[in-house]
C-alpha cells in the first residue's frame, strides 16, 4: 500500500481547510449557531417539549446532522472536482496509487473535516442550549459513519459534475430539503399518518433518528434500522465509487 501517497493527498486536502478557515469552519459554525439561537433559545422557549426534551436541545442533533451532511458532500465533491477542473488531476492519475488509496485520501480528509466541524458545532450548541449525550460512543459512531458515507457521496458527485452549477445542485436541491424534511426540527410522530409513511422513504430520517437517539434515547425509528440503513447507504456509495474507477468514468477516457 502506498501510505506516503495516501498521506500526501490527505494532508494536501487538510491544508486547504486551514488556508480557507473562515469559509470551511467559521461560516458553517456561525450559520448553525444562528439556528440554535433563533429556534432554540428565542422561539424554542415558547415551544413545548418534544418527547420530554426541550425544543432547543431537541433540534441540536438534527442541526449538527444538517451541517455534517452538507459539509461532507461539499468538501469531498470540491476536493476531487477542483483538480479535475484545473487539470492537476493528471498527477493523481499518473501516480502509483490505487483507487482505494485515492478514495482514502480524499474521503478521509473530507470526513475528518466535517466530523471535526460537527464536534465544534456541538461544543458551540452546548454553550447556548443544555445538552446531554446519553450514548457518546454511539454518537461518535453515527457522526463518523455519516461523515464517511456522505463524503463518499460527495466524491461521486465531484466526479459526476462537469460544472460548478452541477456541483451545487445536489447539496442545495437534494440534501438540504431532505434534511429539513428528515426530522431536523420535529419528530415524525408530529406529522399526519400519511406523511409519516412518506417520510420513511427519506434516508436522512434514519441518520437523524439514530443520531438523536444517541443524545436523548428518543428515536423515530429503531436503532437497528438506523444503523442498517446508514450502512446500506455506505455500501451503495462504495459500490458506485468502485464502478467509477473500474470504468474510468469521467477520469480516464
Amino acid at each position: 500500500m502506498n501510505l506516503h501517497g495516501v498521506k500526501a493527498i490527505y494532508l494536501f486536502e487538510m491544508a486547504r481547510t486551514w488556508r480557507t478557515l473562515l469559509q470551511s469552519v467559521l461560516a458553517p459554525v456561525i450559520s448553525t449557531s444562528l439556528y440554535f439561537f433563533v429556534f432554540g433559545a428565542a422561539i424554542g422557549s415558547r415551544i413545548t417539549e418534544v418527547d420530554g426534551v426541550s425544543y432547543g436541545a431537541f433540534i441540536v442533533p438534527g442541526l449538527i446532522m444538517l451541517s455534517l451532511l452538507m459539509q461532507s458532500v461539499m468538501n469531498a465533491s470540491f476536493g476531487i472536482y477542483f483538480p479535475r477542473f484545473i487539470g492537476t488531476i493528471y498527477e493523481i492519475l499518473s501516480a502509483p496509487v490505487s483507487y482505494f488509496e485515492i478514495v482514502l485520501g480524499y474521503v478521509g480528509a473530507a470526513a475528518t473535516k466535517s466530523a471535526l466541524l460537527g464536534l465544534i458545532i456541538l461544543a458551540t450548541a452546548s454553550l447556548i442550549v443544555p445538552i446531554e449525550i446519553a450514548h457518546p460512543i454511539w454518537m461518535m459512531f453515527f457522526l463518523v459513519l455519516t461523515a464517511v458515507t456522505f463524503s463518499l457521496l460527495g466524491f461521486i458527485l465531484g466526479i459526476w459534475a462537469d460544472s460548478f452549477e452541477r456541483l451545487q445542485i445536489v447539496p442545495m436541491l437534494i440534501i438540504t430539503p431532505l434534511t429539513f424534511l428528515g426530522g431536523s426540527f420535529y419528530s415524525i410522530d408530529m406529522l399526519p399518518p400519511v406523511w409519516q409513511t412518506v417520510t420513511l422513504f427519506n434516508p436522512i430520517v434514519y441518520l437523524i433518528s439514530g443520531f438523536r437517539w444517541s443524545f436523548y434515547e428518543n428515536a423515530d425509528v429503531s436503532l437497528g434500522i438506523s444503523v442498517t440503513m446508514t450502512l446500506a447507504f455506505l455500501v451503495l456509495c462504495l459500490m458506485i465509487v468502485r464502478g467509477i474507477f473500474r470504468t474510468g468514468y469521467r477520469l480516464r477516457p
Binding site: 506516503h4 493527498i9 499518473s94 496509487v97 474510468g248
Partner: protein, 311 residues
C-alpha cells in the same frame, strides 16, 4: 548500457475515443534506456494520447505497454513509480507553496521525505529562492520549471515532457535544454513532444514522427537527416541569366535571385551527385560563376515533407 536496451515497450497500441475518433492506430515503439526521444507531429496527431496512455491517464483500446518490464495495467504501481510526467498545460494549485507542491508530488509517488533531494531539484530548475512562495506568484516560465521539479521529485528513471518549452522565452528554452541534457547524462530516459523542430534537432538522439495517429517513422536523428535530407548547391553567376540554357535542362536546376543564382538539388546518398557534370557543362556553355555554397535541408523541412505524404 546497450543501445537496444528497451525501457518502454509499446506494442500495437490503438486508441479510439467514445466519440469514435481514432487517436492512435497500431503504434509500436521501443524507447531505449537513457536516450532522448523526440516525438514530432502536427496538432492532433496523437502525441499526447500516446504519452497519456503510457503514464496511465488514458486507457488504450488495444495493445500492450510495459515500463522496465512492468505492464502498465497489471503492474501499474511498479510501472508508474518509474515515470515522471510534465504535462503540456500549466496545471498547478495556485495557493500552494513551491516547496509544498514538490513535497506533495514526492509523497504521492510513494517516496518518503528527502529534503536534500528536493533542494537539489529546486536548485536545478532555479526555483530554490522561491521555495516558500505561492505558485500564483510565479511567472509562466517558472511554473513550467516547477512542473519539471514536481516530475523529478520522486527520482524517476523515465521522464515524459509534453511540449516542455511551449510559451517560454528563448533564453529559458536554452536553459531547459541544458536541464534535459543534464538529466540524460544522469541516466534518465527522456521522451519529449515538441512543435519546435529545432528543439528536437538540438536535443534528440532519435526522432519519432506521428501523423494521423500513426507512427510514420522512428530513426536516429543523424541518420534521418542523412537519409531524408536533401542538399542544395547554389551557384552565384557572374552574369544573370534570363532563362535556363537548354543544355542544362537535364539537371533539374532552378534559377533564383533574379537569375543571378543557379540552385542544384542533389541526393547525398547517390553514387554520383552530378556536381562534376554540372560544373563541366557550365564551363562548356561559358557560364561563369563567382561563388558556390551548399546547404542541407533542416529537420523542419524533413518533417513537413513527411507529414505531407499521404498515409
Amino acid at each position: 548500457m546497450e543501445s537496444t536496451d528497451i525501457v518502454v515497450s509499446i506494442e500495437s497500441v490503438s486508441k479510439t475515443y467514445d466519440t469514435g475518433f481514432k487517436a492512435l492506430r497500431d503504434v509500436t515503439l521501443g524507447i531505449r534506456r537513457g536516450e532522448i526521444l523526440a516525438l514530432l507531429g502536427p496538432n492532433g496527431a496523437g502525441k499526447t494520447t500516446l504519452i497519456s496512455i503510457v503514464c496511465g491517464l488514458v486507457n488504450a483500446t488495444e495493445g500492450k505497454v510495459t515500463v522496465n518490464g512492468h505492464d502498465i495495467v497489471d503492474d501499474y504501481r511498479a510501472a508508474r513509480s518509474l515515470i515522471g510526467l510534465v504535462p503540456q498545460e500549466l496545471t498547478t494549485d495556485s495557493f500552494e507553496s513551491v516547496m509544498g507542491t514538490v513535497k506533495f508530488s514526492r509523497g504521492l509517488f510513494g517516496k518518503g521525505p528527502d529534503p536534500a533531494h528536493i533542494e537539489r531539484v529546486l536548485r536545478d530548475v532555479w526555483l530554490w529562492d522561491r521555495k516558500d512562495d505561492e505558485i500564483r506568484t510565479l511567472s509562466g516560465g517558472m511554473k513550467r520549471r516547477l512542473l519539471i521539479a514536481k516530475a523529478l521529485s520522486h527520482e524517476p528513471q523515465i521522464l515524459f515532457l509534453d511540449e516542455p518549452t511551449a510559451g517560454v522565452d528563448v533564453e529559458l528554452r536554452k536553459d531547459m535544454w541544458g536541464t534535459v541534457r543534464k538529466l540524460r547524462d544522469s541516466g534518465v530516459t527522456t521522451i519529449l513532444t515538441t512543435h519546435y523542430i529545432d528543439e528536437a534537432e538540438e536535443l534528440a538522439d532519435r526522432i519519432g514522427v506521428i501523423n494521423n495517429g500513426e507512427l510514420i517513422l522512428v530513426e536516429e536523428k543523424t541518420r534521418l537527416m542523412r537519409m531524408l535530407g536533401r542538399k542544395q548547391l547554389t551557384i552565384e553567376l557572374h552574369d544573370p541569366l534570363a532563362e535556363l540554357p537548354e543544355r542544362l535542362g537535364g539537371f533539374g536546376l532552378e534559377l533564383a535571385n533574379g537569375g543571378s543564382e543557379l540552385v542544384f538539388t542533389y541526393d547525398t546518398q547517390a553514387d554520383r551527385t552530378g556536381i562534376t557534370a554540372l560544373l563541366d557543362e557550365l564551363n562548356d556553355a561559358n557560364i561563369g560563376f563567382k561563388d558556390l555554397h551548399t546547404t542541407q535541408s533542416s529537420l523542419e523541412e524533413i518533417f513537413v515533407n513527411l507529414v505531407k505524404r499521404p498515409t
